[in-house]
Symmetry: C2
Subunit: 220 residues, 2 copies
């Protein structure tokens, strides 16, 4: 299964968006599509001299990917002004071949390299609203507004979309020519990420109907 | 949404499996459950002086987490004998609160820290079989056996499960007391990862019925 999401070539190259690569898409359209499909991201950074990971949610604004967390987060403070690597992956299926070697996975992934930067003030406040627009469009306006203390407690981070790539694998297995004659089943087990109907807060004290904007939430 | 999978506390502590932490589970049972539910992993490592990520699939054997790739992979070679951080995350739901601040996500995640080691020979060969047992039980025996060239082309890696933790968030939003009086809908949008019925290889040249072992594949 060495053809699984091993992006070593990508990472070796640290290519600008122009390079061509098997399964690799360095065009912004492909990158933006993956970022829009899957908010879950893993961000690698260095902490105390060792690699570490922050699993978090990302959103895009123009030529930047954003994430946020607590102002007190040691992870976010360790990242600021430092090189990070952000990865977003959707597992789309198991690809079952006639030999162990040609098993693989279908996936969409994005890998970005760059320096993490914290944004402040109106920029940060505006970005938190855009975060809601990205994940829960129509919801921001319905909420109790954020107060000064909450803004202060929230750190908003970003990195530019300049270095990196999207990689996509789709389709069935690619077996060795002679193996197609073997009576071994091969194919794909598709995998999707599914959003289910809203579940009301069991601690609600008022009966509030489910708002229409819930229907606009998408994932995958 | 600072309560999203921000695991900065975990990463700061680099705790042994004993510590207690809000939402944190340092017991092996919790860690093993997440590893078994989600093969997709992100591994942070250092490449050319900067943090990088390898998205790959993991499986567990006893007190180690394993992954594999091409023997030629620069990523795997950069990891060998070096510190890495492995993260496995399942996004289980969007938690929608009455204020922006208390939005969150339900998730299960594992973060492990340790040194990556390559295993060789019979150990590697045996582990590849155990990899199939983990992801596709019953399938290994049905395949065209691996040959010497394929074994040579495959690198099997592992790290010990000694430093790290599982973190889990479940349930509805936790709003500020006074916000419960507001007529704002709150609740959860559950998210699951779904395995779909097998799709036959369109390039198959023989009609081979779908084997029963496909029904034993699980994810999520």
């Amino acid at each position: 299964m060495s053809q699984a999401p091993d992006t070593s070539d990508l990472k070796t190259d640290r290519s600008r968006l122009r390079r061509s690569h098997e399964r690799g898409h360095y065009d912004r359209e492909a990158i933006d599509a993956v970022l829009a499909a899957m908010p879950m991201a893993h961000i690698a950074y260095e902490m105390d001299g060792a690699p570490s990971i922050l699993p978090t949610l990302q959103w895009r604004e123009g030529d930047y990917v954003y994430w946020h967390g607590s102002s007190a987060s040691r992870a976010l403070r360790a990242m600021e002004g430092r090189k990070v690597c952000l990865s977003v992956s959707c597992l789309d299926g198991y690809v079952l071949a006639r030999s162990a070697m040609h098993h693989s996975v279908n996936f969409r992934s994005v890998m970005l390299f760059g320096e993490a930067e914290r944004v402040h003030g109106d920029h940060a406040a505006n970005s938190l609203e855009l975060m809601f627009d990205a994940w829960f469009p129509g919801r921001w306006e319905t909420l109790r507004p954020m107060n000064a203390q909450e803004f202060k407690a929230t750190a908003v981070m970003r990195m530019p979309i300049t270095e990196g790539a999207a990689k996509v694998r789709t389709g069935g297995p690619s077996d060795d020519e002679e193996d197609y004659a073997l009576p071994i089943w091969a194919g794909v087990l598709p995998i999707t990420i599914t959003l289910h109907p809203p579940v009301d807060d069991p601690d609600a004290r008022l009966e509030v109907p489910q708002p229409a904007h819930l229907g606009d939430v998408k994932i995958g």
